[in-house]
Amino acid sequence: MSKSNHPIEQEELMAYLDGELATNRAVAAAAHLEHCAECQELAADLRKLSQEMMAWEVEQASPPEITNEMVAELEMRKREPKKQASIRRRWSMLFTPRKLVFAGGSAVVMVLIVSFFSFSRLRPAHEALLSGEAKGGKLEHYFGNDSYMPKPVPASTPPGGPEAYASMSRSQTLGNVAKIASGIVTHEQDAHVTNLADDETDSSDHSVPSVPMIARVAGITLSTKEFDKSRSGLEQILKRHNGYMGELKVNAPADAGRTLTATLRVPGRELEAAMAELKKLGRVEDESQGGEEVTQQYVDLEARLANGKHTEQRLTEILRTRTGKLQDVLKVELEIDRVRGEIEQMQAEKKELSKRVAFATLNTTVKEEYFAKLQGAPASTGSRFRNAAVDGYNTVVQGLIDVGLFLLSAGPSLLLWAVILFFPVRWAWKKFRSTRGPEQAEEEQA
């Protein structure tokens, strides 16, 4: 059956039987079907096919009932239909690229604002501590009560009281104030940092630290005659102050004193006492102390961490409640993976930061005082001669090898040039000789 014979195509006939043909075409199809035996046969086949397909009946399902899960969902909807709707609408809005960009930008601005306020709240105390105006009275004002006053560093306070303190040079004052500050903060820091380190998973724990967080670094270089004792002394000091050895390196050259370089980690509040004990191990050659305030860094990290956890929570909620394409589901899962990775990284950073604050770093160098020994004759003279002879032999052999290599690599091209230039040069030489010959003869005659 072709179009030339039938005004209605087979497909159209099928659509007509399915009730899917436009009215004008349906009228034409009905008219054609009345008198076309071939189309009637096709129509009968199609109808029969439908009947045959209906032979495949499925058994009845279990008695219809609404499952408990559905009831729970319905109850949840009943309780908060509007909230649920608004949450879902909000999330569906968030998924548009423009909204995502806007949300990202807003989050960044929020973090900046939070960081700014946190920083500005902490700034006065920190500035007061590091400015020349800081005195005992001011410190009390900023840190609340007497219990925070520096106990570990009484020797650093000048005997003349606040007046004498004020009359000290700026550098002295700064140094002492830094020491006082470090003494003040270490007690609270330890408690705070311990809490933070122990409770990494608590998402609500992102409060601003009540005191500046300072990662302290100190250095000391000692020289001693009793090197062996100093090493064991070092370990005992660490044990007494609950510290640990970060890194240890011992260097023992043949004709110089031994050197021990160690990175010690001691609790912040024990730093002063540990240093005082270390000084007893030998003569102090060099000493330094410093501190890096990481409060801002910590607050930023906290804010980012809280934000990340919130995002993860929302994404998980989306994954749980929304149905969509598998592609979308996979996208959400990938996003969750990414956010989870960032959170874990930030938690590790936070832990590391807390550790840096809780444990001060004490770079220690212990040098042995070296006494040179008088030797009758230099040791190993024979071996030095032998080594010199071997070196000479090696140099000769190496030279020969180099010449051989040069000839092998450059020889063929040199030979080629020699062949090319031989005849012209010989001709030129002969020419020169022939012109030079008569002149020489004349000179000789003269």
């Binding site: 058994e59 009845q60 219809p64």
Partner: protein, 186 residues
């Protein structure tokens, strides 16, 4: 009789009765949809239930411009696709290890199922949606995201192919019928 769309809007506003009515109307059709496409009766029931769960969860996103029937089957198709992906990465097939009904399938049903299995997967889906789910061309086109004309031509092709696959059965039946008549006469 209240339309499906009116019921859905009513359910969207929080009416549980409306959902129960929709559940009563669509439970059997949805079960049939999964049952004809999956081997396991239990999975078919589970997925029918999951379709309703998804409807409850996503009811807030339903917009009256979409037919409820199309909406339900769109969810069902997605669940079916996910189910098939879960158990095999192959081209969708009617399951070979079809778990028959307890009273056993009729011979005709078996023929039809086997003939359907031989069809191209895309064409088979269109044919099944048309014949068993009683969807019109536009609804199938919307569900499968195809032009209506493509749906029509594929449907025609699949019907012709199915007819050819069922031809031997017809011949067998007519032969056996004529033999039986001959025996009765003699």
């Amino acid at each position: 009789m209240i339309s499906d769309e009116a019921l859905m809007l009513s359910f969207q506003r929080g009416s549980r009765e409306a959902f129960e009515e929709l559940f009563a109307r669509y439970r059997e059709p949805l079960y049939g949809f999964f049952r004809r496409r999956l081997a396991s009766k239990d999975r078919a029931e589970d997925l029918a239930q999951e379709t309703f769960l998804a409807v409850i969860r996503a009811a807030v996103r339903y917009e009256p411009r979409a037919m409820v029937k199309t909406y339900f089957y769109a969810i069902a198709l997605k669940l079916l696709a996910a189910e098939r992906r879960k158990f095999s990465g192959n081209e969708p097939q009617l399951d070979d290890e079809y778990e028959p009904a307890e009273d056993g399938p009729s011979e005709e049903a078996l023929w039809v199922r086997q003939a359907l299995e031989k069809l191209d997967a895309n064409e088979r889906e269109i044919l099944m949606l048309r014949e068993y789910e009683q969807l019109n061309y536009a609804e199938i086109a919307e569900l499968l995201r195809l032009p209506v004309n493509t749906v029509r031509s594929r449907l025609f092709r699949s019907r012709m192919a199915l007819k050819s696959f069922l031809e031997p059965k017809r011949n067998t039946q007519s032969r056996s019928r004529s033999t039986a008549e001959g025996e009765a006469k003699s």
